[in-house]
Amino acid sequence: MALFGQFGISGSALTAQRLRMDIISANIANATTTRGRLVDGQWTPYQRKMAVVAPRGGPSFDTFLNAATQGKQSTVTQGVRVTEIIEDQTPFKLVYDPAHPDANTEGYVQLPNVDLAKEMVDMLSATRAYEANVTAFNAGKNMEMKALEIGR
């Protein structure tokens, strides 16, 4: 039903923010993981992950084609979606710790490029964005409930 279009939009945003939150949790959990991936027999640390979001149902070829064949102009997006999860390419942190099993010959250990302060900021941003979408959802729901009161 077209009546619930806005619910789908807010729902997709909630899903996207949940995924962002999952990624942030994974980053924090792996903040000290030195064995993230095996490259040529050498362990490299965990790389910080980030979500790339894009509007859903917006500027893709099939939407425009469908809109054109049906003689309608449709540019309203149907929410948001996570297109890919990319890895942060910033260099790893070097910490002097000769006793560490993954220390190199000079005694330095490569730690993940996860900055806990940055993750906390991202986490708050994801939480607030989730709340904002719940508020938008409730506002839309209240409008429909008010419409039901017409003529009562």
């Binding site: 039903m1 619930f4 619910f7 807010s10 909630l14 899903t15 949940r18 729901k141 429909e144 039901l148």
Partner: protein, 100 residues
């Protein structure tokens, strides 16, 4: 709750048969047709919500908000249905009260 019987038998085609001539001749859909497709939609929403609730209690739900959104959709759809029903019944009673 499965209300498909209500929509297909008591609201839909029977009414059509009894009345014979509908608005279809002019290429329009009659109220009962519109209402029964709408009832099917509402039933679908309610069943969807029930399915998600069952998945929630058996631990198969990935996102909690999907469950709450489905139940909100079902609730609004059901309220709209009762509102439309009330109006239809009200109109019918108004007709019955008419002095001949």
């Amino acid at each position: 709750m499965d209300i498909s019987k209500v929509t297909s038998e008591s609201v839909g085609p029977k009414w059509q048969k009894q009345n014979g001539v509908g608005n279809e001749q002019q290429g329009q859909r009659s109220f009962s047709q519109v209402f029964s497709t709408y009832l099917n939609d509402v039933n679908h929403q309610v069943l969807e919500s029930e399915k998600l609730n069952a998945q929630l209690v058996t631990g198969q739900v990935n996102h909690l908000h999907e469950v709450t959104i489905a139940s909100e959709k079902a609730m609004i759809a059901l309220q709209l249905t009762t509102q439309v029903r009330d109006k239809a019944v009200e109109a019918y009673q108004e007709m019955m009260r008419m002095q001949l």
